[in-house]
Amino acid sequence: MASKARADAEQARADYGAYVASGEAAEPALGEHHRLQLLQMALEKLAKAFLYHGEPSGRYSHHVALSAINRLRSHTIAEAAGMTFVTFSRMLDAAKPIFLQIEAASPSVGSDGRGLTREESERTSNVEYPWQSDVTDPSSWIAPASRPFSIVHDLRYDPRSVRAVHLLDRLIDAAATVLPKP
């Protein structure tokens, strides 16, 4: 048994592990959108782990990643992540826009971190549900499986994005260290 915060951190580790494992096979086992969904789920669970640490009964439905990132600038979390505070702060600043892009892969979150209504969600690209590119055209629905996501390319080739994913990995480890055990 675990606290809500630690349970989310544990699930973040499992989601991140599935993301990594799905990228290691010689032949891709998952579509890019499914891998991005795993990463988005890991980020969401990590962010909620830290937010529930502050208020376990809180309802966090929007700006989840941004709210958490803003609160992570801590010497204790830096230490648990194996970095000096200054290095950690710089990495957080650099990772923030990448994390927001990953978060926006969710069907319920806009590119600015805001929670989306169902109608908005059905017109916004995401990794889980089809969306409609033109509300006046009933044949303009797009399946996530049929569409490349630019962030996926960045996660593989852009050094800043690669570092952001490594930071996510370290933050999941840090959560397991700093979040109190019940």
Partner: protein, 126 residues
């Protein structure tokens, strides 16, 4: 020149604060050093063990969240984010991040934290 300035700034942030006042200043400086424009207030801990900061910025999302109150109610509170000490920061910390309108509500008592920090009107700008 700028590298030298950055190095000095980094060294200051990496220095281990030895007193409570140093710790308040160090953490406030660190949190004010990001890209967002942030006003920071300290709510002193009488025991001088916990650095308590209220950070106010238009760049933040709303800080208050709804939480369930038994049996069927809901209330809005601002979560305090607590963290233990580290080797290079030997003090506990509690951080609150709100937008300006919420900071006004907190001072007026129409919005509350999820921890008792006493009278927030004694907060001192850092």
């Amino acid at each position: 020149m700028s590298d030298h300035t950055t190095d000095n700034s980094s060294a200051a942030l990496d220095a281990v604060p030895k007193t409570y006042d140093d710790a308040v200043s160090a953490l406030a400086s660190a949190h004010a050093g990001g890209s967002d424009n942030v006003d920071i207030y300290s709510v002193p801990d009488p025991q001088q063990q916990i650095v308590r900061l209220i950070e106010v910025s238009t760049a933040f999302p709303e800080g208050a969240v709804e939480r369930q109150v038994l049996p069927n109610g809901v209330e809005r509170v601002v979560p305090v984010f607590p963290m233990g000490p580290a080797k290079d920061f030997p003090f506990r910390s509690e951080i609150v991040q709100v937008i300006p309108a919420e900071w006004e509500q907190l001072r007026q008592g129409t919005l509350k934290l999820n921890r008792d920090w006493g009278d927030l009107n004694r907060a001192e700008r850092v």
